[in-house]
Amino acid sequence: MEFVRFNGVEFPYHPEFYGEQSPFGHLPLEDAVETSFQLGQQTFTYQRIPEEKRPYPNLEMGNAANMCLGCGHIGISQGLADALYELQIPPWLVMATSGIGCGGKWSSDIGQMLDDPLHRVYGAHVTHGQSTSSGFARGVIQPGLLNIMGGGDGDIASIGLAYLHNVIASNVNGLVFSMTNNVYGLTKGQPSRTSEKGRKDRRMTAALEMEPLDLVLEALAISGATFVARTLSSDRKKTRDYFMAAILHPGCAVLDIISPCVTWNMSQNAGYWKPLLFEMATGNYQDVVVDLEKHLDGKFDPTDRATAEFVYRRLTEAGKKPVGLVYYNKDSVSFQQDHGLRAERPIGNLTSAELTLSQDDLGKM
């Protein structure tokens, strides 16, 4: 059996599925050109198939998505669809797992709006907060598939926080993204765990007294984290690049994506965030925290974890919202690689004979 490593996934190459005669489209590996892109100072490389030869369409959901006009979640889903299109990962190798809420709908929408059923992904709209735990299980059972887990901040940073810790610590190959809008949108505007201290709107009887949870710091604090980044949803191209890097990364990548809620958290729109954002790779530290400039010697290095956490905290204390690749482990080895997990075919297709225990098997046990 020939296994192919291609743009972050490793799968058995069946010519019937991917070859020139395939009814599902020919994946022309021979036409792929090695291409690079930058996130800060870090370079990521992938096999780019020229647009005219791509077998799989963009899974963009467009206007059919059941979202408020202007919702940041739309931009995030589009960025993800763009990344999958650019990397040309076969759609049936994509497992999309989401939880509940506005941030849970993407797995039902992405690729499902296409007329052609050949290009649907495998989505799972699971229970609240369980996108990471379910996704972890799916990734271990189906090591050859691309494992995308994502939800809103209520899902990832609140009810599902314990599972997020486990999935990061295990470094299962895949990516976790949070569409962080700092509000519970689907349930009509209650403050969430990431809402800022002091928030008070007409629906609340008192101002919020709790300090917010910072998902980037939370991910950084877990030993075993190998890729932590934050970006803003309104830049579609940049969102795509972060998704691509996260998919290419061997291990668990965590993306905290700021996603303005245009209905229930209108004050924190893209215009509110832009002056607060601080690009960690290119920002002018001199203007924000003077001593950092000296410490960094003019250059922020995301591959050094202690520096990453220190710099991130100082920027936050100075009132900034740091964005960019915060921490990145170049030597990451995924859970699947570490355990030698590869599957020639899905475990769910094992036959009755293969699954039934004989007296001999029993004796050996």
């Binding site: 009814p23 497992m95 690729g111 499902q112 495998y122 989505g123 189906q142 009755s352 039934t356 007296q359």
Partner: protein, 292 residues
């Protein structure tokens, strides 16, 4: 295996009502093997039930059974049911021709495609989120819908699944002083004991010590009970005194029997006794004899 409840590191059979209602209103099957032989032979059948009905099957055990030493006959692989994964779409099917794949077909278990099968991508949803072969989605691919008509039809579809697997559910076992058998609807005597979980052991021990004739009816499927209701009612009718023997305070199986087997209007509700122990220790034959 699953959640631990009750008194920490102590034993009970007290999770039945929790499991019946846990997670919301979807159909489920709950089975309690009761002894180690059944704990070996039943799970293979339970996997088949889960695949045939495409619904969760819950196996209830307890600490006492899991942590004690028992003498059992050597395990015999021929007691295991051959694994049947139910209707599936495989990559070979996908290659055989254009696949107009329908994951969701009303009224039956539609073929399941494992992720990685080309051309059969679909959505799996939990809870009450709805996929339905509605007018918008006549081919049952599974489109998003919260329309009242779709929710109603999907709810009915989910609950109709129990009928698909009713015949596969482990049947009540009759234990007479002479031996064990599937209950055929005929038995009779002074005392009838209905048991589940590890209460089966003290119940059969008490049976041997009693001067009167006693029969034990061991329920392995503890939920749903409707498909075995006639047998349970017949067992109750044919014994002068009947008690449910179980290891919890509320009488959870007794409550379930009354709800599932005696709730049809006009049904005469029997005088069903309860012998229970709920101090975190395994019930003994003496407990039963004393209560009787």
């Amino acid at each position: 295996m699953g959640i631990s409840t009750g008194s920490p590191t102590r034993t009970a059979d007290a999770d039945l009502l929790t499991m019946i209602s846990a997670g919301g209103p979807f159909p489920r099957v709950i089975v309690s093997p009761g002894d180690v032989e059944a704990q070996f032979s039943l799970p293979s059948r339970l996997f088949n039930i889960a695949d045939a009905g495409q619904l969760p099957v819950i196996l209830l055990t307890n600490l006492w059974t899991g942590e004690n030493l028992f003498t059992a006959p050597e395990y015999d692989a021929s007691e295991l049911a051959p694994i049947d994964r139910g209707p599936r779409v495989t990559p070979e099917d996908a290659l055989a021709g254009p696949l107009d794949y329908a994951r969701y077909l009303m009224g039956r278990s539609a073929p399941f495609a494992v992720p990685g099968t080309p051309g059969a991508g679909h959505i799996v949803r939990g809870g009450n989120f709805v996929v339905a072969d509605s007018a918008d989605d006549p081919r049952g691919r599974g489109s998003y819908s919260e329309l009242p008509g779709d929710v109603k039809r999907l709810t009915e579809h989910k609950h109709a699944k129990l009928a698909l697997i009713a015949d596969m559910l482990p049947k009540p076992q009759l234990i007479t002083p002479a031996g064990k058998s599937d209950y055929q609807g005929v038995s009779g005597g002074d005392i009838g004991l209905i048991v589940w979980g590890s209460a089966v052991h003290p119940a059969t021990e008490a049976q041997a010590k009693l001067a009167e004739h006693a029969d034990v009816l061991q329920l392995r499927t503890v939920y749903p009970l409707r498909q075995h209701a006639e047998q349970i009612r017949s067992f109750v009718r044919q014994h002068a005194r009947v008690a449910v023997v179980e290891q919890n305070f509320e009488g959870q199986l007794r409550e379930t029997i009354l709800k599932e087997c005696y709730s049809t209007p006009g049904t005469v509700v029997p005088d069903l006794g309860l012998i229970n122990r709920y101090d975190g220790r395994q019930m003994t034959a003496e407990d039963i004899l004393e209560a009787l």
